[in-house]
Symmetry: C2
């Protein structure tokens, strides 16, 4: 069946959440948002392209930082309202310079930071 | 630092996306939503508890199906607007009976279903 981004389910802002996972390590790197056009761009160019909610513009991951995400596999879920992109991540996925964004864990009611990242 | 669910950032509906990842296989299983109270319940009980947007009620994963998610690790991201829960998944995470929800891939413009799931 041909894929059409219009067949996916978007929120009121026309966006769908996209989970980025490292294709090699299987680490979950980050979650960001896409719209139909950024999905089309991602599939066409092979460079993961989000929609920046703060800047209200396309966000070609790594365009300024060099920390690009090369698309390895593009998946969507049962309800067609969430994406999973498997990527080759260059450098840090997180804007803090860490490899991924989920560097804080809650343990016994306390926030623990993963200092190895 | 003590963790307080109120410190996280929620959308207009009071919800935050939660990615569930298998703690052993590192497969991304699903994405669902939590509110502050379901986060507190998840941490207190060790059973992953979402907020069902369709039913507008707490959704203790597997309560009716038996396909429970035992919490292994609870993380949150740099912007404090997304959660990652590592879980021990019993049975299928997806309501279709598949192990996870991301069983469809887009390849060369076509939708390919992973028949192994």
């Amino acid at each position: 069946m041909p894929f059409d981004p219009a067949d996916l389910t978007y929120n009121d802002a026309g966006l769908i959440p996209a989970i980025a996972q490292d294709a090699d390590t299987r680490e979950v790197l980050m979650l960001a948002w896409m719209n139909a056009e950024s999905i089309a761009q991602t599939l066409k160019t092979g460079r993961v392209t989000y929609w920046s909610r703060s800047r209200q513009s396309f966000w070609i991951k790594g365009e300024t930082s060099g920390h690009t995400q090369e698309l390895v596999e593009f998946r969507f879920d049962c309800d067609q309202d969430c994406l999973l992109v498997l990527v080759n991540q260059t450098g840090a996925a997180c804007h803090t310079g860490r490899r991924h964004c989920f560097y804080r864990t809650v343990k016994d009611g306390e926030v623990i930071e993963n200092l190895a990242l």
